[in-house]
């Protein structure tokens, strides 16, 4: 075909001449307005802008609404939707034998802060070279709204008990573990998240991004007349127990460095987002922890790049492996020769 239809606008290509389309995935089946979908769209744009070859990415996830999202981005990449909380170990095994892929993991707060917290901790400890996004909504979305371990004390439900247990702050945990890249962001802060994600993709080591990502369906506040709880209570009138409200995605929110803003969520609750100061030194773990503690005291969520250490050896450095990936080794590099077996046996025979 020699004739191509005239385009009103030329398709924009990235540095490896790929259109944005090369980075998209299938349609999402999440609730309309779910924060997780916003994160997916940032993953698409960040990967495209970074010029990563889309098929050289490995999309990893656990189980949860968040962990379903790899189907919705990077359709040219292989992925593995593993088991609940155990994506880090699968990624560890894959990365050990194929170090040439960009491992991009997505998880939920149930996945990462409860059932899988041990695996998260040990992947950080090994400094596994991967990007690890926690799509943190304070609830178990997929199992319909139980509190997660990141929910704040006093997260209130009019009916039923308020959450009384202190939250696990994954960023503070990671910094204490020596994680080499620790950031927090908000699903609605696409610009900030995009910048952090691009930096994380370029980082050599474990990059944790804890992204506050509101669940529009199982928020914690039953008082809200827009909440799921309200809908449930009124299901007699509505005759629909399974009614999922349609939400427009959250507007984009960017908070200037060193400032904070109050953000009203779908259920009417307010979170206060603060962007860490421009002069915060991300190599200073103590300053990062202080910022996290102070923000928690003030009921803020401090966002931005909190901690960064580019020089730590990664898992591969400690395994004594070749530069080339093990999966690329030919058969004769994997199976020693018959003479080698004879030599072993001769030694047993005492010859």
């Amino acid at each position: 075909m020699s004739e191509t239809p005239a385009r009103s606008q030329p398709i924009k290509l990235n540095i490896i001449d790929q259109p944005l389309d090369a980075y998209t995935g299938g349609p999402s089946s999440l609730c309309p307005g779910c924060g997780h979908d916003q994160i997916s769209s940032v993953i698409i744009s960040a990967a495209w802008e970074n010029g990563v070859e889309p098929h050289r990415i490995a999309k990893m996830s656990g189980i949860g609404c968040s962990s379903k999202t790899p189907a919705y981005y990077l359709g040219q990449a292989h992925g593995f939707n593993t088991v609940h909380g155990r994506m880090p170990s699968v990624t560890t095994g894959a990365a050990a034998v194929n170090r040439d892929l960009l491992y991009l993991g997505v998880s939920g707060d149930g996945d990462s802060a409860s059932i899988g917290i041990g695996q998260l901790i040990h992947a950080i400890r090994r400094n596994l070279d991967m990007v690890y996004i926690v799509e943190n909504n304070g609830v178990y979305g997929l199992t319909k709204g139980q509190y997660s371990a990141t929910a704040e004390i006093g997260s209130k439900k009019k009916k039923g008990k308020a959450n009384e247990q202190p939250p696990i702050d994954l960023c503070a945990l990671a910094i204490n573990l020596g994680c080499t890249f620790v950031a927090r962001s908000f699903s609605g802060s696409k610009k900030q998240l995009n910048a952090l994600l691009k930096a994380a993709m370029s980082h050599r080591g474990f990059a944790l991004i804890d992204v506050i990502s509101p669940c529009v369906t199982f928020n914690n506040n039953d008082e809200s007349f827009r909440s799921y709880g309200y809908v449930k209570e009124n299901e007699v009138t509505l005759h629909m127990a399974d009614y999922i409200p349609q939400r427009v995605p959250m507007e984009e929110i960017e908070v200037p460095e060193g400032h904070y803003r109050d953000i009203t969520l779908h259920d009417g609750s307010v979170i206060r987002l603060e962007t860490i100061d421009a002069d915060h030194d991300p190599s200073d773990a103590v300053a990062a922890l202080a910022a996290l503690h102070k923000a928690a005291d003030d009921d803020h969520h401090v966002t931005g790049l909190l901690y960064f250490d580019p020089d730590m050896p990664i898992m591969h450095d400690n395994l004594g492996l070749p530069e080339a990936s093990l999966i690329d080794l030919p058969a004769d590099a994997l199976r020693p020769s018959e003479a080698a077996l004879d030599a072993v046996v001769a030694r047993f025979r005492g010859a």
């Binding site: 292989h78 880090p88 894959a94 194929n98 040990h122 999966i327 590099a333 072993v344 047993f348």
Partner: protein, 595 residues
């Protein structure tokens, strides 16, 4: 008194952590060096120091390797078990006892050899006296039984390879014991050993080391493990062989080793490596397999090659962690929730540990499914006579992996889970290839790999998986058959029972009955197992567990007309199998069946 040559059981009672293991291995190896058929079993506690340990040496020209029914020669070192060990002895037994233990030896119906072992050891090395005392009994035994001096010296040299001071100390202690026995003790027992020529090419090796070596020659690319008795030495075997056998010209390893945070993670790493296109394995025991169940199901359903070695110990729960059993078979065969079925390779000898060590990867990649190696503590952690290892006779089988874009493009309508060849085995492409990328998952999926909850899609998938594993049967290790002409009774057994079967067979035959044998070496059952059952009127399924797990599997899988002829003899008391215990039960069962 007629001399009894090369036919007795020797039992050495010590405490864990006293260094008796190397003395016992010297004794075992010296007998082996004389070309004598000998086997050793370590009955050790789950403890680092202080609890009782027994080492059982069976010397048998008939080649019997089970512990035997009674002890003929008892070495007493441990005050804690002294009275019990002594009480268990039959009249006429021999007792070699450490007088420094300050215990009473009041049996008058046994042959008594008192030896001040610790005092003598103290003259050599006061600090190490407790340990050195063990080598003293080796010297006493050597003298009383007539073990050749050269055989002992070679065993000491082998045990302490090149460590001159250790060789020196142990040699002195051995000589001290031997001289004492020669000068102070008068031989009053009938037991003796006689050389049987050169052991030839044979040598001693533990099953775990053999399996590790097999994995090394099978091209293992990733080992993830979490320590647990009795499997640790399998993983450590792989680790120990990597520097010599699996490094490149720059000294870099061609196999990654990761000590995982737990068995869940170890299994996840194996699945991750398999998904990426590599040969990943783990080694564990029952408790570890219990933790791995979820991943085993994922590997089955998402069709990820992965190799799991289970070195069986006594369950349930923590059970008797340092004792042997065959009780994980069913858990492996049907591991994880939902309808599953897994391939299990079951070695019965150290040669097979090596062979299945490499073959497991071929089978796993060929059938794109988890494959288990099932060994047990007895086979894995004790030393067995080995004839040698056969180098893999086939190139590595990497299965249906499409690495080449031309090949990929020539395929019409590629689908990760499409049954193109009618054997239930689909083709796969690897992450990073850009060819037909899918999101691998443990959720329902259609032939192209897309999420689906449709009934017919699920049904087709489950039927195909069944077809795939069923299709593996003839390709798996066939049973080893030893058939008698009059095919009345056949015994089906598996794994380390191999080491007792000859003696069991001889006991049964001494009662005037001949039985055939069929050693199962894989699940799902090879078609020849059914043929064997069809040829025998009565089939006994013999296993070291309570419930008859293989029997249960056979009853379910054999055609109806054969089910009634299959009977279970299952027994496990935590001890390594003693031939007479099983022989009696077999005879009783046959008599019951025949009415």
């Amino acid at each position: 008194m007629t001399t009894i040559v090369n036919d007795f059981t020797l039992n050495i009672a010590t405490a864990n952590g006293t260094g008796s293991q190397s003395a016992n291995l010297i004794l075992l190896q010296s007998l082996f060096n004389m070309g004598i058929e000998v086997s050793g079993k370590n009955l050790f506690p789950s403890n680092i120091s202080g609890l009782p340990t027994w080492y059982i040496v069976r010397v048998s020209d008939a080649g019997y390797q089970a512990p035997g029914d009674r002890t003929h020669i008892q070495v007493l070192m441990n005050p804690d078990t002294w009275a019990e060990d002594l009480a268990d002895l039959q009249p006429g037994s021999v007792v070699i006892w450490n007088t420094d233990a300050k215990m009473v030896m009041d049996r008058v119906d046994v042959v008594s050899y008192p030896v001040p072992m610790t005092t003598m050891a103290r003259t050599l090395n006061p600090k190490l006296a407790r340990m050195v005392a063990n080598v003293i009994y080796v010297g006493v035994i050597a003298e009383m039984l007539g073990i050749e001096d050269d055989a002992i010296l070679a065993a000491i040299a082998g045990q302490f390879k090149g460590k001159a001071s250790a060789i020196d100390l142990n040699t002195q202690a051995y000589r001290l014991g031997r001289t004492f026995a020669n000068e102070e003790l008068t031989k009053a027992d009938p037991y003796a050993v006689e050389a049987r020529g050169n052991p030839g090419g044979r040598f001693f090796i533990e099953g775990n080391e053999a399996a590790a070596l097999g994995a090394i020659f099978g091209g293992v690319q990733m080992l993830a493990w979490y320590p647990i008795t009795p499997s640790s030495s399998l993983a450590e075997g792989v680790i120990n062989y990597i520097p010599k056998l699996r490094t490149n010209e720059h000294g870099e390893a061609t196999c990654a080793v990761i000590q995982a945070e737990d068995e869940l993670a170890a299994a996840g790493m194996v699945v991750g490596a398999g998904w990426a296109g590599a040969r990943g394995m783990t080694a564990t025991s029952g408790p570890g397999i219990s933790l791995m169940q979820e991943f085993i199901g994922l590997a089955y359903f998402a069709e990820i090659p992965s190799v799991f070695w289970d070195v069986n110990r006594v369950g349930p729960s923590t059970g008797l962690p340092t004792r042997t059993q065959q009780s994980d078979l069913q858990m492996l065969y049907e591991g994880s929730h939902g309808d599953t079925q897994h391939i299990v390779l079951i070695p019965g000898t150290v040669e097979e540990c090596f062979e299945f060590g490499w073959r497991a990867f071929d089978v796993s990649e060929r059938f794109q499914t988890p494959v288990f190696g099932l060994s047990d503590l007895d086979l894995g952690m004790n030393r067995w006579t080995c004839e040698g290892f056969t180098y893999p006779d086939v190139p590595m089988d990497r299965g249906k992996v499409i690495r080449d874009r031309d090949v990929f493009e020539a395929m019409e309508d590629f689908g990760r889970y499409r049954d193109v060849d009618g054997d239930g085995i689909p083709y796969r492409t690897l992450p990073g290839s850009g060819m037909a990328p899918i999101l691998s998952r443990g959720t329902g999926h259609d032939p192209s790999g897309k999420y689906s909850e449709k009934s017919h899609v699920y049904l087709d998938l489950m039927q195909r998986l069944r077809r795939k594993i069923d299709g593996a049967r003839p390709h798996l290790p066939a049973p080893i058959l030893r058939e008698e002409e009059e095919c009345d009774v056949g015994i089906v057994y598996f794994g380390s029972m191999e080491n007792s079967i000859q003696e069991i067979d001889d006991i049964i035959e001494s009662g005037g009955r001949k039985v055939s044998q069929c050693r199962v070496r894989s699940l799902p059952l090879h078609p020849e197992v059914e043929d064997f059952c069809a040829r025998h009127k009565t089939v006994i399924v013999l296993e070291i567990n309570r419930d008859g797990q293989l029997w249960g599997i056979m009853r379910r899988e054999l055609p109806n007309h054969l089910v009634d002829r299959v009977h279970s003899v299952a027994y496990s008391d935590g001890m390594p199998p003693r031939a007479s215990v099983y022989a009696e039960r077999i005879i009783a069962t046959i008599e019951e069946v025949e009415g």
